[in-house]
């Protein structure tokens, strides 16, 4: 077995915490049951690792096996990486082809190897028609760097792929190209979503989050159920703003639903607009650069934080925006469209600000407006 492979396996196993070691080794399925039973897992970690390396050498582990172990480790520790989302699309008028996993794998590998001689590509299929791809990058002259791989999770029945963000960014276009061609799509676009939690990204992208629909026959009265109060609440305590609270609670429930939210860490909305003026010679309108506005919401768990604004009775502007947009959108409450109403409200706020500016400068013949 090669020195580098041995070192690579050793470093991978050292990363695994002891309580997960047996599970991961079983998932790897490279060492047999008998061999695993000969290892004493209660020793100090270094001794366990030595023993395992010895067993791998006996069985002549190859680079592919080592890469597979790395994939399994990453699957268990998904949250250690930050994942981006890419969406692929077919050209107009193209038919939907049947997906052949083998053909995809061959094609993907070939494209990468044709472009860069030194790459290591490994695959592992999991349930839900997903394939985990691990790519270790090298250049024309250097061997692949096994310690900085990129992982791609591709869901074959959907046009979405998740890629772990890595420091070697120059290979991203090549990776995108390989993925697109191998999966028989036309183009690939990076979506504005990024997270450590693959499950949350999946929930958002595949629209798996809970959407509640209005039912007219809810048996429990709204007050007891949703105000979060104890049903045996003391009747001597009277809430004055109960009507308002109920309304807020109802709207929050309609927007978010009852189930736990996908875990978003930040959401960013960008606004870019230019000013125009009827008369020439206005300072703001003559700017070449459009005005840019960036709104960023960030929190360890953004959607739950927004949802809990209601019981916290903090009826801030954001909550008002949410309620406004929730009560004005029709049909199913799409969460992202709900939040994108924020952008329109920001425009309204900006135009109100402009009115103020207009009044301040008190010049009736110069009026500033925004154009989209």
């Amino acid at each position: 077995m090669d020195e580098t492979v041995a070192e690579f396996i050793k470093r991978t196993i050292l990363k695994i915490p002891l309580n997960e070691l047996t599970t991961i080794l079983k998932a790897w399925d490279f060492l047999s049951e008998n061999q695993l039973q000969t290892v004493n897992f209660r020793q100090r970690k270094e001794s366990v690792v030595q023993h395992l390396i010895h067993l791998c050498e006996e069985k002549r582990a190859s680079l592919n096996d080592a890469a597979l172990l790395d994939i399994i480790y990453t699957q268990f520790h998904q949250h250690q990486k930050v994942w981006d989302v890419f969406q692929m699309s077919k050209g107009p008028g193209e038919d939907v082809d049947l997906f052949d996993m083998k053909q995809f794998k061959n094609s993907f590998k070939k494209i990468l190897q044709r472009a860069l001689k030194n790459v290591t590509v490994s695959f592992r299929e999991t349930e839900e028609n997903a394939v985990w791809i691990r790519i270790a990058w090298g250049t024309q002259y250097t061997k692949p760097n096994q310690y900085k791989p990129t992982y791609v999770v591709y869901y074959s029945q959907t046009p979405y792929a998740f890629k772990s963000s890595s420091t070697l960014r120059r290979n991203t276009p090549l990776l995108g190209q390989a993925l697109t061609i191998a999966s028989k799509h036309h183009q690939i676009v990076k979506m504005d979503l990024r997270s450590r939690y693959l499950d949350s990204l999946k929930a958002i992208v595949f629209k798996q989050y809970n959407q509640t629909f209005e039912t007219h026959n809810s048996t429990t009265p709204l007050q007891e159920r949703s105000l979060g109060l104890d049903i045996n609440m003391d009747s001597r305590i009277i809430h004055e703003n109960i009507v308002e609270k109920e309304r807020v609670q109802r709207i929050t429930q309609e927007t978010f639903g009852d189930y736990p939210q996908p875990q978003l860490e930040f959401a960013q909305y960008k606004l870019e607009t230019k000013f125009k003026s009827d008369l020439n010679g206005s300072i703001l309108a003559e700017r070449e650069e459009p005005l840019r506005c960036l709104i960023k919401f960030s929190s360890p768990h953004l959607l739950e934080a927004l949802k809990s604004l209601a019981p916290a009775a903090l009826f801030s502007r954001i909550q008002k925006l949410l309620c406004y947009s929730a009560s004005h959108s029709q049909g199913t409450q799409d969460l992202s469209s709900c939040m994108s109403h924020c952008i329109q409200d920001v425009k309204i706020m900006m135009s109100q600000h402009l009115d103020m500016v207009n009044q301040m400068y008190a010049s009736p013949d110069i009026q500033l407006t925004t154009i989209d």
Binding site: D234, R236, E240, P311
Partner: protein, 180 residues
């Protein structure tokens, strides 16, 4: 007009009503629970509101004491209190209004300086109490104090009126407040 007046309704028999005004709903709820656990000869009623003016309601009993709860961690809380104060009639401030500042224990989280609240209370000639409502022990003690003050304001303690109590509390504060 949506201004709260102290004497615009008839009192109910042996009932004392307190109104807690503040943005932190959870804290108000906990304080209300603590107050209701106290032994008290009169019947207590606690009303919780986020801000004034209150929505109009015919069934509301006469309010005997208003406590404005200001959270020192939140400028919004102070702003909310200041706006609510406009909706209280001037005759309420003869001993039937009290300010409660919470959150002073965690100095690093305070965004409102203590002097701001002291000045506010001084402007409205009303007593200012400090209590960390999140701590169980302090909350229970404060609840006991508030129940006693409420009983006096409702007139259930013979010989002492709200105005008496106010002047008693004020004379114990030093003359340094006049300099503020």
């Amino acid at each position: 007009m949506s201004v709260l007046r102290p004497l615009d309704k008839l009192p109910s028999l042996n009932t004392a009503t307190i109104l807690l005004v503040g943005t932190e709903d959870a804290l108000l709820q906990q304080l209300a629970d603590s107050m209701l656990k106290e032994d008290c000869a009169s019947e207590l009623k606690v009303h919780l509101a986020k801000s004034l003016p209150l929505p109009s309601s015919v069934n509301r009993p006469r309010i005997d004491l208003i406590v404005f709860v200001v959270n020192l961690h939140s400028k919004y809380s102070l702003q909310n209190t200041e706006e609510s104060l406009h909706h209280v009639d001037a005759s309420f401030f003869l001993g039937k209004v009290c300010f409660l500042a919470t959150g002073a224990g965690r100095e690093s989280h305070c965004s409102i300086h203590r002097h701001t609240v002291v000045k506010l209370a001084h402007t409205y000639q009303s007593p200012l109490l400090y209590c960390d409502l999140e701590v169980e022990g302090f909350r229970v003690t404060m609840a006991q104090r508030l129940v006693r003050v409420l009983q006096i304001c409702a007139g259930h303690v013979p010989g002492v009126s709200a105005l008496n109590l106010l002047s008693l509390l004020r004379s114990s504060e030093g003359p340094s407040l006049e300099d503020l």
